[in-house]
């Protein structure tokens, strides 16, 4: 087969001498008349390389520019048409903007047509030319030729700025009342644009809407429904006003299904499916939360749902829209069952598109009709094996939504299998989903630990940073599982250090529970026989492996240090390793080693107390100010300086800043630590801490300096927040809010609340960046009044990528026992375009459902 473009036929033809001759006449010895568009296209298509094409275009652009300069009226339209072609290929064409205006002002329809097209393609909203255009459009809206009027409407409806819309709304409104259906349909869409640009002009179109639905022409009906939909979505008053149209809409819909064959609107045997879909969508908005309107449309929805012929896509499109409407309005329960069953039937459809929309809509309804969706679980799980990534993604999301306490084991088996076999793009999301589901519904601790380890071994390098501290916390709290866990982890990393999160968790556990490993006591599993030296061998291999990251090495060194109090006959070997790394080129590692060295040499009497096993984090009720420091497990010595003794919390200076900023004592500061933040000076801190411990007599809760930051926090976490599963029976349907939007940085809050523990609100923040440069070192801080308690989990990243190409997510848990109105102050710091940015904001627009 010949490719029309590219490597075969046309290139060869282009290189034939005769054709070069023809075109060179146009390009090289061009006479006063510029070459035609078709000729230019033909010439460009002869280009063999990108460079050659660029050269041709540059040459032609130069010619066009000079023609523009000469104010050549005859060929202006031809030149602009050529510019539009080049623009499509990606070449700059702004210099044609003014020429478009001149064309619009011309008397000829041909000129106007290309001029308006050029204006829509080339002009941007900031252009001052808009001012100049307003007049032309105004004249053309009143032109005697409907096609000129149509062009003006189309252009205004595409690119009209708010000023233009204000100036021309009157004309649009007039055309909306004309009897000419060609103009009327365009005026309706133009009105939608006007309303979007200048919402307060909406009222102006209200009188004209009166007769819109009496129209016979389907084009006008279609666009009128679009206009009504826009007005209803924008204003509750309009919504209430237009509810009276429900009977009329129902009648139109009924006529469409009953009317039989009408050649003009027939599509595969169905009468105007586009209009049907549009009406069903408007009905959805009108029936939402309104019993009377819902009642009025129940019958027709049932009729459409049962009578629509579904052998073709058009029929399924209508059926799909009907299902969505049924699910969204206050429909009868029988109808809802019918709707879910239709979706269940869709899941078995051969057409992948139908299966895809079925999964998408089941995902939307899974919260409200959980049990009905649950019935289709096995079909949904089967979709995980689909070859189509779009379907796979939806099936994965839906599978996670269907996991509950009853099916957790079976579902996790499927999802773990999926995690193993799926494309890399799914792994991070799938791993997070499994972690979350396991946390919510784990039937036993052993199962929980096994599941997380399965994830770490199958998709270790894809898991998100917070997985490591979370798992370590889980392991610490499962005292009876320590021996089992450390043995499993030891075996898991034998000879394979590639999965960094796995190695980190393993190193931490080996350091913490090395004695259990060597003693060979394990009730859960066949114990393994390892010697102290073998264990140290493994950790040392991690230290020297070139697959290990700096963070992993930190874990390994700390683990080795801890083993100095857990092992009996290898202390000298440990001393040696520690002293070797005292001169490591990795500063982080070096500092750590130097500190540990000092511990051996100067403070040996305290070593065993300092390196004591981590305490189990028990639930402790604290009423005083709380402070939570989170890192993603980065092994920096942060805890050495930020850790207050449990009895007398002292906010760090950073906390004080935020405290000041909130202007009073009745607030609870929370200091998150961004993943990249490092303490300013850490050298002397160890000594400070040691001094401190000396004074306070080192209570059992005083954590070892070498431990992982998060775990080393005193057990002050909000009561009930740390260990209780949060997400059982989530209350959903809480609208999300935009908490902050400035300088291209946008922060959105989405809410979840647990039904079982309604005083907890889980807020997920999403920061996105619409500017053209990344925002780096992004730190989000938040504070709430004292009646609340707040916990800020670590962010997914510290970089907000440009062009909205990604988001940072961070979870905030708020404990609000008194159900008071939620208020929050937020502080944002980041670097952008080379300068440090900082901003404060107050968030007061929390939806009532998030706190009532």
């Amino acid at each position: 087969m010949v490719h029309l473009e590219g490597n075969s036929g046309w290139r060869k033809i282009g290189s034939w001498p005769w054709i070069v001759k023809i075109y060179s006449k146009g390009i090289i010895s061009r006479m006063p008349a510029p070459i035609r568009l078709r000729e230019l296209i033909r010439t460009i298509r002869t280009a063999r390389t990108q460079a050659e094409e660029r050269e041709m275009i540059q040459k032609e652009c130069a010619a066009i520019r000079s023609s523009f300069r000469e104010e050549d009226n005859t060929y202006r339209c031809r030149n602009v048409a050529k510019l539009l072609y080049m623009h499509m290929l990606g070449y700059p064409a702004h210099f044609g903007q003014l020429e478009c205006l001149k064309l619009i002002a011309s008397q000829k329809f041909t000129d106007k047509r290309i001029g308006y097209l050029g204006a829509m393609l080339l002009l941007d909203e900031r252009q001052d030319v808009h001012l100049l255009m307003t007049n032309c459009i105004k004249n053309d809206l009143n032109h005697s030729t409907q096609y000129v009027q149509g062009l003006a409407l189309c252009t205004l409806g595409c690119m009209g700025s708010s000023e233009m819309c204000r100036d021309l709304a009157g004309e649009v409104e007039k055309l909306l009342k004309t009897s000419n259906s060609y103009l009327r349909k365009k005026a309706a869409l133009c009105a939608v644009h006007v309303i979007r640009k200048v919402p307060e002009l909406m009222e102006m179109f209200l009188p004209a809407t009166k007769n819109l639905l009496n129209e016979k022409n389907h084009g006008v009906l279609h666009t009128s429904v679009v206009l009504l939909t826009e007005m209803c979505e924008r204003s509750p008053d309009m919504l209430a006003h237009f509810r009276k149209l429900v009977p009329q809409l129902v009648r139109i819909l009924k006529n469409l299904i009953m009317s039989g064959y009408s050649p003009e609107h027939d599509v595969s045997g169905i009468s105007d499916p586009f209009l049907q879909v549009r009406i069903l969508r408007l009905l959805r908005i009108l029936g939402r939360n309104d019993d009377d309107s819902s009642e009025a449309m129940n019958d027709i929805l049932a009729q459409v749902a049962t009578n629509t012929e579904t052998s073709k896509n058009v029929g399924n499109a209508i059926l799909y829209e009907t299902v969505l409407t049924i699910m969204d309005i206050k429909s009868e329960s029988g109808l809802r069952v019918l709707a879910i069953n239709i979706l269940g039937r869709f899941l078995l459809n051969n057409d992948k598109n139908i299966r895809y929309v079925a999964l998408t809509s089941l995902l939307k309804t899974v919260q409200t009709d959980h049990n009905a969706v649950q019935r289709h679980r096995s079909t949904i799980v089967d979709c995980l094996k689909d070859l189509d990534v779009s379907i796979k993604r939806r099936a994965m999301e839906l599978s996670f939504a269907l996991v509950n306490g009853n099916n957790i084991r079976g579902m996790m088996k499927e999802l773990l299998y999926f995690l193993d076999s799926c494309e890399p793009e799914f792994k991070a999301d799938c791993a997070s989903g499994i972690f979350l589901a396991a946390e919510k519904y784990a039937p036993s601790k052993r199962w929980h630990i096994d599941t997380i380890m399965r994830v770490l071994t199958t998709a270790g390098s894809y898991v998100r940073d917070d997985a490591v501290p979370n798992l370590i916390q889980l392991i610490t709290n499962s005292v009876e599982m320590h021996a089992y866990t450390v043995q499993r982890l030891y075996k898991a990393i034998l000879g394979d250090y590639s999965q960094q999160p796995l190695v980190q968790v393993a190193a931490w556990c080996i350091g913490e529970y090395g004695d259990l490993l060597v003693s060979g006591q394990c009730e859960e599993e066949e114990p393994i026989q390892v010697t102290e030296d073998e264990v140290l061998d493994i950790l040392e291999s991690v230290l020297i492996s070139n697959m290990s990251t700096s963070v992993t090495r930190g874990y390994a060194l700390t683990a080795i240090m801890k083993l100095s109090t857990r092992f009996t006959c290898t202390v000298n070997r440990i001393k040696k390793v520690v002293s070797i790394y005292g001169s490591s080129i990795d500063v982080e590692l070096q500092q750590r080693a130097v500190e540990y060295n000092a511990l051996f040499k100067k403070y040996d009497h305290m070593r065993s107390a300092l390196l004591e096993r981590m305490p189990v984090m028990e639930k402790v009720t604290t009423n005083g100010p709380t402070e939570i420091v989170q890192t993603n497990g980065e092994t920096d010595p942060t805890p050495l300086e930020t850790k207050p003794p449990p009895s007398g919390p002292q906010p760090t200076s950073q906390a004080n800043d935020l405290l000041d900023l909130l202007g009073g004592n009745d607030i609870t500061p929370v200091i998150p630590t961004a993943p990249t933040s490092k303490p300013a000076s850490a050298g002397g801190e160890l000594l400070d801490l040691l001094g401190d411990i000396n004074l306070t007599g080192a209570p059992a809760a005083a954590p070892a300096p070498a431990s992982v930051p998060q775990i080393s926090q005193p057990p002050f976490l909000l009561d009930g927040l740390s260990s209780q599963p949060l997400f059982n029976d989530i209350a959903t349907g809480i609208p999300s809010i935009t908490a902050y939007s400035k300088n291209g940085l946008k922060i959105e809050f989405t809410f979840e609340r647990s039904n079982t523990n309604p005083s907890v609100t889980v807020i997920t923040i999403q920061a996105s960046n619409s500017t053209e440069l990344d925002m780096t070192d992004f730190v989000f801080q938040a504070a709430v009044p004292k009646t609340f308690q707040l916990q800020l989990l670590s962010p997914s990243s510290s970089i907000v990528p440009a062009f909205n190409t990604g988001t940072i997510t961070q979870v905030i848990k708020v404990l609000n026992p008194q159900k008071q109105q939620l208020r929050m102050r937020i502080k944002l710091t980041y670097n952008h375009k080379g300068s440090a940015m900082q901003d404060l904001a107050e968030v007061n627009n929390f939806p009532p459902q998030s706190w009532q």
């Binding site: 490719h3 029309l4 473009e5 590219g6 075969s8 036929g9 060869k12 035609r36 568009l37 078709r38 296209i41 298509r45 339209c77 539009l84 499509m88 990606g90 000829k108 329809f109 041909t110 047509r113 290309i114 097209l117 096609y147 409407l153 189309c154 595409c158 060609y182 365009k186 869409l189 133009c190 939608v192 644009h193 979007r196 084009g219 279609h222 666009t223 679009v226 003009e264 609107h265 599509v267 105007d272 586009f274 073709k312 896509n313 499109a317 799909y320 829209e321 992948k352 598109n353 139908i354 299966r355 895809y356 929309v357 998408t360 189509d388 779009s390 619409s770 062009f803 909205n804 990604g806």
Partner: protein, 198 residues
């Protein structure tokens, strides 16, 4: 920035990613437009013909709130980038309407028609979609309005007084000199199954 709900872009490119129609209903700087076309092409290209016609929008056009809905005809991909304001299945039908309309206006449309009549393709699209919203889906109506406007243009002498069907001109002059191994039939690539909706 807040975005109006509408079709964000309509892109047509061939199997090699060469753009044949680029129409954005949302403002993007020129470079971004080109990047979006490229990204969309790469996203669509790696999909088999037997998998579903929806995919989550590329990173540039706005992430997962947006969907790319496409159909592949012979050498051309027709891609609509839409948000929740449109029915996914409805857009598939709309693409079919657009292509069938092109077929009626160009009498057996092929890629060359789109190349040499870029302006006309835009005019046809303008009668189907306006400002990112569906305007008309009745093919006969669209064709009638387009023909009336073309007659009006012709009465003024037209854009360039070039042969009305440049494509056929190209085809004709080339034919005698075409190398034998090129299958002429392929130059006029038909849109398959046009008579029925799939």
């Amino acid at each position: 920035a807040w975005r109006a709900k509408k079709i964000q872009a309509i892109l047509v490119f061939n199997n090699h990613g060469k753009p044949r129609l680029v129409r954005f209903y949302q403002r993007f700087p020129e470079e971004i437009q080109q990047q979006i076309v490229r990204e969309t092409f790469h996203l669509v290209l790696k999909r088999d013909d037997n998998i579903c016609n929806f995919l989550e929008g590329g990173s540039l056009i706005g992430g997962s709130d947006y969907k790319l809905i496409y159909r592949h005809y012979a050498t051309l991909y027709f891609v609509f980038c839409v948000d929740s304001s449109e029915s996914e299945l409805g857009i598939l039908d709309l693409i079919q309407v657009f292509v069938e309309t092109l077929d009626k206006c160009f009498e057996n449309v092929c890629e060359l028609d789109l190349i040499f009549h870029m302006d006309k393709v835009h005019y046809i699209l303008q009668e189907v979609v306006m400002g990112g919203m569906v305007l008309e889906t009745n093919m006969n109506e669209i064709v009638a309005q387009i023909e009336a406007q073309n007659r009006l243009e012709k009465s003024e002498g037209g854009l360039s007084a070039a042969p009305a069907r440049a494509v056929s001109a190209v085809k004709n002059i080339n034919l005698p000199e075409m190398p034998r191994n090129i299958n002429i039939g392929d130059l006029n690539i038909k849109v398959p199954n046009l008579s029925q909706f799939v």
